[in-house]
Symmetry: C2
Subunit: 366 residues, 2 copies
């Protein structure tokens, strides 16, 4: 059977950087091999640069992006604690679900999908929550929220509330500045702007949040204290085995981060911006209507309304079978009325933007 070769322009995964693919297939190393530990340490250091943080506990967790969300709540929330979640899409919804499983008293602040998070409403939801969670780049709607403003407002009010940011679709694509923004804990996924296959969740946690963490969380696999003893080393300088690290995936992330930092973070952000702007302009030129609120659109993930009378699934199917291009359906109640088109990581390029515009023009006969 012929091997399918797709151009992945949905909400993720995206096509990996070539360096990431090569590293996946490199000879495997043991998870305690000094060579691998060097790669692991460098990966954590590269992640610090991309996150914009000096956090000692900055590491790739061994699961896909959502495991980062779970690790955050499992290690930071105690039963009965108030947690405020800004919900402006599917991943804010998910935060409420996960927080509640770990016993939090969840105060959700609902927003219309397609709109960014309203900082004032989030602050008004509770006077002193243990944690506030918000999504930086909502994968379900293509909206960017102002985490810097949220962080500043929280810090101005009190010193105890922790700020959690979901950066699954932002890290490596648009600016993320964990330390400057006052973010205490953040997670991402490898399969979006970082340009690696899915399977790891880059994670970072501040010293402040670390000091507040649950000593013996209800999960073993995501016990950050135990994981930290392997990844960052123990107080005595050694490393304690926790679980077998996904060495091939980590080598792949290491290579992709090397590529991103060689290009330069600013240049990578500009590339995502240019590709997304061209796509959004081109979609409007085709007579289509963008979904996300103007001024808050992610360059790396564009949402566009399916024109009246057009069968969303049929168009996506034709793009896939005739052009080898994957774009995404909408999420939740917008499943059949919105498309999601990603230009992330290695795909954040003008040629990808032109290609998907040209293919859409053909399929929609515009």
């Amino acid at each position: 059977m012929a091997m399918a070769d797709r151009i992945l322009l949905g909400p993720g995964p995206s096509n990996p950087y070539p360096e990431a693919t090569s590293a996946l297939a490199a000879p495997l190393l043991g998870h305690l091999d000094p060579e691998f530990l060097r790669i692991l340490d460098q990966t954590c250091e590269r992640l610090r640069q991309v996150w914009g943080t000096a956090n000692r506990r900055t590491l790739p967790l061994s699961g896909t992006g959502s495991i980062g969300m779970e690790a955050a709540f499992a290690n930071l929330v105690r039963p009965g604690q108030p947690v405020v979640v800004a919900v402006n899409g599917l991943f804010g919804e998910r935060m409420c679900d996960v927080a509640a499983r770990y016993g939090a008293t969840v105060h959700r602040v609902d927003h219309e999908w397609g709109q960014p998070v309203d900082v004032d409403r989030v602050l008004a939801a509770h006077p002193a929550p243990a944690l506030v969670g918000a999504v930086h780049a909502e994968t379900s709607t293509g909206v960017r929220s102002d985490i810097a403003a949220l962080g500043a407002a929280l810090r101005a009010r009190d010193e105890d509330t922790l700020l959690l940011a979901d950066c699954v679709t932002s890290l490596g694509g648009i600016e993320v500045a964990v330390d400057d923004w006052g973010v205490d804990v953040a997670y991402s996924g490898t399969q979006k702007c970082l340009g690696v296959a899915p399977g790891l969740a880059p994670f970072t946690i501040s010293e402040r949040a670390w000091a507040h963490r649950v000593e013996h969380p209800p999960t073993w696999y995501l016990d950050l204290g135990m994981i930290g003893d392997y990844v960052s080393g123990t107080a005595s300088g050694g490393r304690t085995y926790h679980h077998t690290a996904p060495v091939a995936m980590i080598a792949s992330l290491h290579a992709a981060l090397g590529r991103v930092l060689d290009e330069g973070l600013d240049a990578v952000v500009r590339r995502h911006h240019a590709a997304g702007q061209r796509l959004q302009d081109g979609l409007v030129d085709l007579g289509l209507e963008l979904f996300a609120a103007d001024g808050h659109r992610l360059p790396e993930l564009t949402t566009v309304r399916v024109p009246d009378g057009v069968d969303s699934a049929q168009v996506r199917g034709r793009l896939l079978t005739e052009y080898g291009i994957e774009i995404g359906a909408g999420a939740g109640k917008y499943a059949s009325t919105v498309w999601r088109i990603g230009l992330m990581g290695h795909n954040a390029r003008l040629d990808r933007a032109e290609l998907v515009l040209a293919a859409l023009r053909q399929v929609l006969r515009r």
Copy 2:
């Protein structure tokens, strides 16, 4: 810097089958692409063959082997329920830790490390536990336990106790027969005898256990009901997105399983047996003493005592730097007095056995 190329003869990871490596680097597919879903379905079907089960819920979980253990307890144990764990090594210890985190009242049955599980003692630990957990192939000691006998004894006593088997180091290397043995839930890792990089936990659960599961487990990422709606499909036949599947790793597992089934499960088991037997005979010929109890030794993972006066770490270091061969230290209190030598998956070969024997002979000057 030169790329390290290791011969991985520790307790895992092992060197992947070439097919598994090629598949890792194949063009990436989206997690909802029909082509990928075909690969996922085939992977689950191939896993059923390797597990020896007709369980509908047989799938790769998105994490390394230990996530299988966590998923089992998270989805099957309710606070206060009695759970019996046979402890004859590190992974039995870990089961106690994980079970307790999910609220189980743990009745541990301790065995001397290096000895197999004593079925009668396990049965005597509690008259009617909700679940009994045991490790089929103890990675820490190189011991095989008789899960078939444990299953038969449990079934003869009552119909309600679930049987959990850790098959991380057995699946794809020695016989595993989930249905015949009366195992209700079992998990493995990809990086041992299955010959794939670490990152997935093959998992299977019987209808009986499924009916007993916790409807809304404390973990979101490992909520088997939600995962099943994506992997196995919903009752209405559709699939519901849960988390982004680690598509590259699943394609790699798919390829390795194809290789294993092409060779034939019986032949693969014979190959592991022959390689392990040669290694163990050769170690004895070198004057070394095997650690695991005679008659209960795993062919795929051999434990051997470090001779008196020999520095364990120095020998392992020389094997690594001079020969590119990784072998493992011991686990727990045997860290510096036992070596663990794996001949798993693609490494279950006579040439690997001869190579590590020859290198040990040189380094030990025997």
